[in-house]
Amino acid sequence: MRKPGKALLLDDIDRRLLDDFQSGFPLAPRPFAEIAGRLGVGESEVIARIERLTAAGAVSRVGPVLRPRHVGASTLAAMAVPEDRIEEIAELVNGYREVNHNYERTHRFNLWFVLTAADEERLTEVMEEIEDRTGIEVLDLPMLEEYHIDLGFPLQWT
């Protein structure tokens, strides 16, 4: 990955490449030629630009963003941890293989982690155990409905 700090210079073609093809990438035998037609440049230039943007770290890949398979049960958990115990408790929480995502956030509820397990019972068991070991309540905030349709991320260039 590229070193941070070095400014990446983008022209209008780069910006359109980054913005207009985050979804709906052509499923045609020569997708880069189709994009080239839309941008008014050549196929080899499109490929070269994507290679350059990838090398510069602006593009991770041209490919799929997958929907997670919801195997088993999962929830989002939050704890209001005293400042001076956050590292100790974060480490304790990280010790569970059921935890796959653990963040400090700027709120009274300052420790946020995602739990996934084979079933609800195991989730409850882990949360109760964390409460027992830390003496701090764990808020269980399961997802009820998802509203987002991922169409990529429109970039603002100004």
């Binding site: 990446l8 490449l17 980054l18 093809f21 985050q22 979804s23 709906g24 990438f25 499923l27 045609a28 035998p29 997708p31 880069f32 196929e43 490929i47 994507i50 990838t54 593009v59 991770s60 890949r61 041209v62 490919g63 799929p64 963003v65 997958l66 929907r67 997670p68 398979r69 919801h70 088993g72 989002l76 939050a78 480490e91 935890v99 796959n100 653990n102 963040y103 400090e104 956030r105 700027t106 709120h107 509820f109 946020w112 982690f113 995602v114 996934t116 808020l139 269980d140 905030l141 399961p142 409905e145 998802e146 509203y147 987002h148 349709i149 991922d150 169409l151 990529g152 991320f153 603002q156």
Partner: protein
Amino acid sequence: MSASVSAAVPDPIDGALIRAVQQGLPLVPRPYAVIAGGLGISETEVMARLARLIARGAIKRFGVVVRHRELGYRASAMVVWALPENRVAEIGRRIARLPFVTLSYRRLPRPPVWPYNLFTMIHGRDRTSVLDQLEQIKERLDLADTGCAVLFSARCFKQRGARYDATWHPEATNPCHPIELSDLKSASGNNLACAF
């Protein structure tokens, strides 16, 4: 929404195809032909199967995957809203369609300590621009009087990568944003943009 996806027995060719394209298409004039060659199927079948996986929702989108941090989008906030139950779905869908919003979920609230039932993720170049986005959202959706809280990510203690064959959570798609602790202090007035 995703129930039909998870319930379906994965087709072994689809599985192999996803593994083949997961790291990105080869940057050559006929990338689907290269993928096809590796799988022993035709180029047409590769495109047809990808179209089907997209239509079914197993692939959320297919295209250029951008690294926002590298392009200067360095801040993100989890913004949570306390909405009346009968308005959550409507507002959740409307927020989800706005630019700079990458997640919108209804979750079980835990009043009185946690009254918030809608969770959204808002991105920006820095914390100020995230808060500007939030102001625009509140104005456009008439949410000025709705209770909300802004939770910036401070330190990331654990993040397991998202892989198709592993159990993971959609929120794991948010990049880890390690931020200096000094930075954290200055932004800890996290309710400043909210009604409570």
